[in-house]
């Protein structure tokens, strides 16, 4: 309960609602409204982790999203463990278990801290230099070491039990950041009635107003102004105010991505609410009012716990009512830190201020601070700090007129607030592809030329004073919403302006000084200077070589310091060195938010047929075909794939089998020019196909290679029922529509997908006719009246059907098309009618074997996008008299009509009949030829054929048709095996059975 560093009053925490959470197993007491960081500080805890590379003790540097050091593992319950949470943004609540990272055995005593002593080894580019050192060191030393050291925190091992939601939204004005500028912008835009979304990453809108309780706006306390403004916005239907929502990505066409943390801050969640929600906003206009980040000062041992950014000290004091220490030294090169010192003094802290600026360069802030009794040392640098796990003193020295440091002085302290100036948060502007401009007076890059409908306001574009932020924000809001309203705000003055400094002047040997620039990746000023000495001049190269700015904080605190050091070393102006590119996400985003609902059953649609449930209940094993899930085989008790397929194959050839072919693509081609259209799309002739007859259609791409195939029935003069492959359905429809709309708009033809209107029950085998005879009405099933490759309409079990007499097995067969919602009933009726005949359900594997026994090709298996009709022996199907069809001209290409060398479809009979070749196996004429051997082709299909009682294979072989009877050699996992080239048909070679 103690909270020794909690101030007795003040702050926006709710002191009537105490909370307890855990840090490294110990209870931490705080209040509703605390962050984990503020509660830890209230309990005097600053040491919260070990640094990434050197395992140096690290504390809390910041109060906000830019925190590089205080990264904790947060456990919110079983399965809900996240590493690398910034203590400064995690809201404290009952039940949280937080732990520090990157140490062993404990935070206090960390073996890895030996790295700190070895730091001369881990210089800039250490990783790259390992490549140059002895080769044998790599496997045994470097790689294991680097692997063990890589990464920060432990990845969760359990599946994430939380729900993540997704939401698309549209608005006229999206405002990023609900600080003074963003709020003023929202006020202006809201009044126009336009749709406004105001998103802020914090739990409470207000930005800097939340820690500026004495500021006044238009003569009123800022906190009152804030409350009224929020009430005004909240009451408007056209405004969506989103706290806890981080805008992390700015994409094309003002497509902006943000994550809303919905329930993490709640101690208990009502059942089904999501943890986070990913918002994808399409905004007419975007206003970037994301504020700015304070720069640390770069001096020796500037990373000790207890050393914070100055403004963060102020935030902890004013917003959370906690003192980061009792004895505070503020080290600064600018004016804003004087306000920190003033507030700290008012809160009862013992305060000293050290300013790098000469007294003459400072403003009235010096006098003001001295008036309240604070010692102010102007013209002083910081050359180091004392302490290890907590700062115990700051070493300062006057900078003399010759640039040398004077006598050192140690100021005892338990807390340091440092300020090296401010950097506008231009991350999102940069992501939007806007062009930055370097502003000398601000010593910062600021938004210049917008690439999208977007504008920045307030500190995000370098306007730091409160009145300026409000006025500028309002103007931006008005402009973005097309309003001409203007408004100026009066506000209490803000202390602004700073003297840019890259590295604090020091009297120490700069090659020995450990002054951190990038806290998260442990990059020192020395590392950056070394990189420049080793020849790196581009900031992009320095960044990759030293890893500065490459941690998850993307260098929010470090980029400008690093850039300044490089520019200084190269003696170039800062803009000449350029700035690095900011990429999404602005701050880390959970995988869950990105995945959203797309997991488990909703990962991808699983398409099933109306007969799927029947197959499931009859024990089918399934396989995925495109997005479809198809019955693969129907094992009986104890059967494996091989046995089940052998049984199914026999059953079809000897009795009757039933197969769900519903996934076949179907297109209804209708119109006066339907036949002409078919003529142009397929190689086959269609004009003379009689109504009620079918034809196997072969479709090419423009390049003359096979695109798809399928049986087509002519329903009437102006209507064709086209079938496509399962996987090709959408592609073929798109291909057809493409031609119809762009090449032949004159043709009166309409295409409609009927894939799912018709379920297809394939009934195949010598007894197929007997099975359906009693069920069919209105169709004469006799072979004379209803021959192979015919289609009739009638009813089956009273259900209207398009009954096809076709076969993909080589047996007498029917494909019964019925409306999908009736398919299960019809299937069940056929099945029970077939039971006396031993009807056997079969799956896709048996279908594949049966068609391979007959040498029927499967597009995508026998073809691979480089196969012509002649290659698979189908040249005879090409209509000779047609003027044109898609692919016709390509069939005259020299490489296509080449008399030798083209790969042709043949059969392969292995010498060992029991050996089933591997599909994809390569084929050579002589296995003893020198490597690289000449490949003749490859095996496209290979199965055990129960009906042939041996293995069979189809293959594409160069000049294969001229090699009949020849022995070829095919690769196996162990070497080569021998097979004889045969015709690509293995069963019923005369093809008599289909006509039964």
């Amino acid at each position: 309960m103690a909270q020794p560093f909690r101030l007795s009053r003040g702050g926006r925490i709710d002191r009537s609602r105490p909370i307890v959470f855990e840090f490294n197993g110990k209870p931490i007491h705080g209040y509703q409204g605390d962050t984990v960081a503020s509660a830890l500080i209230a309990n005097g805890i600053h040491l919260v982790g070990r640094s990434f590379k050197y395992h140096r003790p690290r504390g809390i540097l910041s109060h906000g999203p830019d925190e590089p050091s205080a990264l904790l593992s947060v456990d919110r319950g079983p399965g809900r463990v996240d590493p690398n949470n910034r203590a400064s943004v995690v809201e404290a609540r009952a039940g949280l278990r937080t732990t520090s990272q990157n140490h062993w055995p404990s935070l206090e005593y960390d073996i890895g801290a030996v790295n700190d002593l070895l730091s001369p080894v881990f210089v800039a580019g250490f990783y790259y230099k390992t490549f140059m050192w002895p080769r044998k060191f790599w496997d045994k030393v470097y790689e294991p070491f680097i692997r063990a050291a890589a990464g920060l925190g432990k990845a969760p091992t359990q599946a994430d039990p939380d729900r993540y939601a997704n939401r698309h939204a549209h608005c006229d004005v999206l405002i990023v950041g609900a600080g003074p500028a963003g709020l003023a912008a929202a006020l202006a835009a809201a009044r126009t009635g336009k749709r406004v979304i105001l998103a802020d990453e914090g739990p409470e809108p207000g930005g800097s107003l939340l820690h500026d309780p004495k500021a006044e706006i238009d003569g009123r306390l800022a906190s009152d102004w804030l409350a009224d403004t929020l009430a005004d916005l909240d009451a408007r239907e056209n405004v969506i105010l989103l706290p806890r929502t981080t805008v992390f990505g700015y994409y094309n066409h003002n497509h902006v991505a943000m994550t809303e943390r919905v329930t993490d801050h709640l101690p208990s969640v009502a059942g089904q609410a999501p943890r986070e929600r990913l918002w994808q906003v399409r905004a007419g206009e975007v206003i970037l009012a994301g504020g700015s980040h304070e720069r640390p000062l770069v001096f020796a041992d500037n990373d000790r716990p207890g050393i914070l950014l100055a403004e963060s000290v102020r935030v902890f004091l004013n917003r959370y009512g906690v003192a980061p220490g009792h004895r505070l030294v503020v080290a600064t090169s600018g004016a804003s830190a004087y306000q920190v010192a003033l507030d700290a003094k008012a809160a009862g802290l013992d305060v000293t201020l050290v300013d790098l600026r000469l007294e003459a360069d400072c403003g009235p802030e010096v006098t003001r601070l001295r008036q309240v009794g604070v010692e102010v040392l102007t013209g002083h640098t910081v050359v180091g700090s004392k302490g290890r796990k907590r700062v115990s003193g700051l070493i300062v020295a006057p900078v003399e007129s010759n640039g040398r440091c004077g006598a050192r002085r140690v100021i005892p302290c338990d807390c340091v607030g440092m300020s090296g100036g401010w950097t506008p948060a231009v991350h999102l502007f940069s992501q939007s592809r806007g062009k930055l401009r370097y502003d000398d007076a601000l010593d910062a890059f600021v938004p210049n030329i917008s690439a999208q409908a977007e504008r920045s306001a307030g500190a995000a574009r370098g306007t730091y004073d409160l009145a300026g932020c409000l006025t500028e924000g309002f103007a931006a809001g008005a402009a973005a919403s097309g309003s001409s309203e203007t408004r100026t705000f009066g506000a209490s003055p803000t202390l602004t302006g700073f003297q840019p400094v890259r590295v604090m002047p020091t009297d120490a040997d700069p090659t020995r000084v450990r002054a951190f620039v990038d806290y998260q990746n442990d990059v020192t000023a020395k590392d950056i200077k070394l990189a420049v000495r080793e020849g790196f001049q581009s900031i992009e190269h320095v960044k990759r070589y030293t890893t500065t700015g490459m941690a998850t904080d993307q260098g929010k605190t470090s980029n400008m310091n690093a850039l300044g050091i490089v520019a200084g070393q190269l003696d170039k102006a800062l803009p000449a060195v350029g700035t690095t590119t900011f990429r999404p996400p602005y701050t880390p985003v959970t995988f869950g938010a990105l995945v959203g609902p797309a997991r488990h059953a909703l990962f991808d649609p699983i398409r099933t047929t109306p007969i799927h449930g029947w197959a499931e209940s009859h024990g089918a094993t399934f396989e995925n075909v495109a997005l479809w899930r198809r019955a693969w085989y129907f094992p009986k008790a104890g059967e494996d794939l091989h046995e089940a397929v052998a049984r199914e194959c026999k059953a079809v050839r000897e009795g009757v089998g039933i197969f769900d072919a519903s996934t076949l693509g179907k297109i209804e081609v209708v119109g006066p020019d339907a036949a002409e259209f078919m003529n142009r799309m397929y190689v086959n002739p269609w004009a003379k196909l009689a109504n009620g007859r079918c034809r196997y259609g072969l479709m090419l791409k423009e390049d003359g290679y096979i695109l798809d195939d399928g049986v087509v029935a002519r329903v009437s003069d102006q209507c064709f029922h086209v079938t496509t492959t399962t996987g090709g359905a959408a592609r073929v429809l798109g291909h057809m529509e493409d031609y119809l709309q762009t090449e032949w708009p004159d043709l009166q033809v309409f295409l409609t997908s009927t894939t799912e209107q018709w379920a297809v029950i394939a009934l195949q085998g010598p007894k197929a006719r007997q099975v359906i005879e009693p069920l069919v009405e209105g169709i004469d099933l006799s072979p004379e009246a209803f021959p192979h490759m015919a289609m009739r309409t009638g009813t089956i079990c009273g259900v209207p059907t398009r009954l096809f007499r076709v076969s993909f097995t080589g047996e007498l067969g029917f494909e019964i098309n019925v409306p999908s919602d009736h398919a299960l009933a019809v299937w069940e009726a056929i099945f029970s009618a077939g039971e006396p005949h031993g009807i056997t359900p079969y799956g896709t594997e048996t279908m594949h074997v049966l068609r391979a026994e007959k040498g029927y090709i499967i597009v995508g298996q026998e073809t691979d996008g480089t196969v012509t009709p002649d290659d698979v022996g189908m040249a005879g199907m090409i209509a000779k008299t047609k003027v044109d069809f898609v692919g016709k001209r390509s069939l005259a290409r020299p490489d296509v009509i080449a008399t030798t060398g083209r790969k042709q479809l043949v059969g392969l009979m292995t010498e060992d009949p029991k050996l089933v070749l591997d599909e994809g196996a390569q084929i050579v004429a002589d296995p003893n030829q020198p490597i690289p051997m000449r490949m003749l082709g490859h095996v496209t299909s290979s199965y055990w054929s129960p009906n042939c009682n041996r293995s069979i294979a189809l293959a594409l072989v160069a000049d294969g048709r001229a090699l009949m009877g020849r022995t070829l050699h095919i690769t196996t996992p162990d070497g080569f095996t021998r097979a004889t080239v045969s015709e690509a048909v293995f069963f019923d070679t005369k093809g008599e059975r289909v006509n039964a």
Partner: protein, 188 residues
């Protein structure tokens, strides 16, 4: 046996059970008849349903509706019992004009989504602006819901009432997605 099977009721993939996550009603529609009409000219009516309304609008009422999805493409919905009648009237209304009227009653599955936060729920997977100005009552369009293609129709009336039409094999996914989305709009 033929008589037993004759007139078998359609087996709808989703059943008809309503769920109400976050107060939005998600209810699979009854067996309806639907047709895709393709014709180049927009004069006149088909079975009393107008063709000349703007693209991406729906006309008619909840029972008999026609959604114009493209310059020459309409999706028509009528009660199942009126399917034959519609085909007959269409044939005479469109006599002499090249057209296609294809029965897709069994291809399409309808799901009605209604309630104050229905648009928000749909926006979980539909990237369109469903605000009253951009997508008022009477709008209809082909769009996406998550990874599935749907036709989205906003029924007449001030209340937010939507019809989602998808293909049969995607119905399980679409229905599951809508329910998940309903839970995703919890806690504000």
């Amino acid at each position: 046996m033929l008589e037993v099977r004759y007139r078998t009721a359609r087996t709808l993939p989703l059943g008809r059970v309503e769920v109400r996550p976050s107060g939005v009603s998600i209810r699979p529609a009854d067996a309806e008849a639907r047709f895709v009409l393709r014709v180049r000219s927009t004069e006149g009516e088909v079975a009393g349903l107008p063709l000349d309304r703007p693209i991406n609008t729906v006309s008619g009422d909840d029972r008999r509706w026609i959604a114009r999805l493209g310059p020459d493409e309409w999706l028509i919905g009528v009660p199942e019992g009126e399917a034959d009648l519609l085909q007959t009237s269409a044939a005479s209304d469109l006599a002499g004009r090249a057209h296609a009227l294809v029965d897709v009653s069994n291809r399409n599955v309808g799901i009605d989504v209604e309630g104050l936060r229905a648009a928000e729920l749909l926006n979980a997977g539909c990237p369109l602006d469903l605000g009253d100005a951009a997508f008022p009552a009477g709008k209809a369009t082909r769009t996406l819901l998550g990874k599935a293609e749907i036709v989205l129709i906003r029924r007449a009336g001030a209340q937010a009432r939507y019809r989602v039409e998808c293909w049969r094999s995607l119905a399980t996914y679409v229905h599951g997605f809508l329910q998940e989305a309903g839970m995703g709009i919890g806690e504000g």
